[in-house]
């Protein structure tokens, strides 16, 4: 029961993030500092990739999943963090 709820929660998270991403892209034309928002959007893309890899745990298992997990942890998560920090540095300057 709890697994099913978690599965649907994962789907909902991914879908909501994708829709939010689209709305941020559409709202970009009303923003003045568009390049800063672009960096946030890049960070959100990496987050989406990480979440999709987590979501793929329902379909894959074993070595494939462990490789995907390692890639997401070692590559995409730090990239997401770097994007957000770059955005903040740009904003402060």
């Amino acid at each position: 029961m709890i697994d099913e709820i978690l599965f649907y929660a994962d789907i909902a998270i991914v879908v909501l993030l994708v829709v939010s991403f689209i709305f941020i892209v559409l709202s970009k034309k009303y923003e003045e500092k568009k390049e800063s928002i672009s960096i946030v959007l890049a960070g959100l893309i990496f987050l989406l990739i990480v979440l999709l890899i987590n979501f793929s745990g329902y379909f894959f298992s074993g070595i494939v999943l462990s490789y995907l997990d390692i890639t997401s942890r070692l590559v995409f998560v730090p990239l997401m963090g770097i994007c957000f920090i770059s955005f903040l540095i740009l904003l402060r300057d």
Partner: protein, 301 residues
């Protein structure tokens, strides 16, 4: 083993990165930096996503922490979605209203005045400048027009002259056409002549080549004849020498022949003498024979 340790360290590094990001963002928000962002409330929740990676550090202690983490993420994404949706719709409505106000002539709008000041007033100034320049250009053009009219009259005169010349030209053109026809004929003839000349040229070239070949043959023959002439001259010299030798030999032989002739005459004389002596001897023999016969007869008797 090493990879596991690396992954654990990565977890802490990621948590630290996001902690720094969250702290920085909210510190900037306190200082009211980034107020120009319409999406700043949505960005609050984007940065709060980093909390998940921080809380994820404690997921190994209990399963419920992981589940709570997932629900927290769901909550953050729902709020993020709502905020982005609301922000988008609000901004869209505001932008549409602003555009409508700007487009409406009767409505008073501070943006209109700003646009007037920022965009239209400099443009009008530029237009005034351009207008002044255009007036100057117009006066220049008027002056040029007068000049052009004067020139136009001159051109009309020239045109009349040209018309008279044109008539002359038409007359001369007929002559020219006739001459052109003649020229074309002449050109055709020339072309034919050219073809003939080319053919002859080819023939001459062929003849020249054959003559060259023959010339080479003659040269070779000449060389052969020279060699032969030299050989003949050598043989002639030889023959000359031999002829001299023969002549000397003939002189010698003539002398010998004279000698022989003299000897023959002597021999003839000797022969005659011998014949006479023989005749004498024969006579003597006959006489002796007669005597002998007489003797025999006498003896018999």
């Amino acid at each position: 083993m090493v990879l596991d340790i690396l992954l654990v360290i990565q977890k802490y590094v990621t948590a630290l990165l996001f902690l720094i990001a969250i702290v920085l963002w909210f510190a900037l928000r306190v200082k009211k930096v980034g107020r120009e962002f319409n999406l700043r409330y949505a960005l609050d929740f984007v940065f709060l996503i980093g909390l998940i990676f921080i809380i994820d550090l404690f997921s190994s202690y209990s399963i419920y922490v992981g589940i709570a983490n997932k629900f927290l993420l769901l909550f953050i994404t729902i709020v993020l979605f709502l905020l982005t949706l609301i922000n988008f719709r609000r901004r869209k409505i505001i932008r549409e209203r602003t555009l409508r106000d700007v487009a409406d002539h009767e409505m008073e709008n501070p943006l209109k005045k700003e646009i007037d000041r920022a965009v239209f007033t400099p443009k009008f100034r530029e237009l005034d400048k351009i207008k002044g320049e255009l007036k100057k250009e117009q006066s220049k053009l008027d002056r040029r027009e007068d000049k052009i009219k004067f020139k136009e009259k001159e051109i009309e005169k020239e045109l009349r002259e040209l018309e008279s010349r044109e008539k002359e030209f038409e007359n001369s053109r007929d002559d020219f056409v006739n001459k052109e026809k003649d020229l074309k004929k002449f050109e055709k003839d020339l072309m034919q002549m050219k073809d003939d000349l080319e053919r002859r040229g080819h023939d001459l070239e062929y003849l020249r080549k054959s003559l060259e070949k023959e010339n080479e043959g003659i040269k070779k023959r000449k060389e052969k004849y020279k060699d032969r002439e030299e050989n003949l001259l050598k043989e002639y010299d030889k023959l000359d020498n031999e002829r001299d030798e023969v002549l000397t030999e003939r002189g010698r032989l003539k002398k010998e022949l004279n000698k022989i002739e003299k000897d023959r005459i002597k021999l003839e004389q000797l022969k005659n003498e011998v014949v006479e002596k023989k005749k004498d001897l024969d006579l003597q023999k006959n006489r002796l024979n007669k005597y002998e016969k007489e003797l025999e007869t006498k003896l018999e008797k």
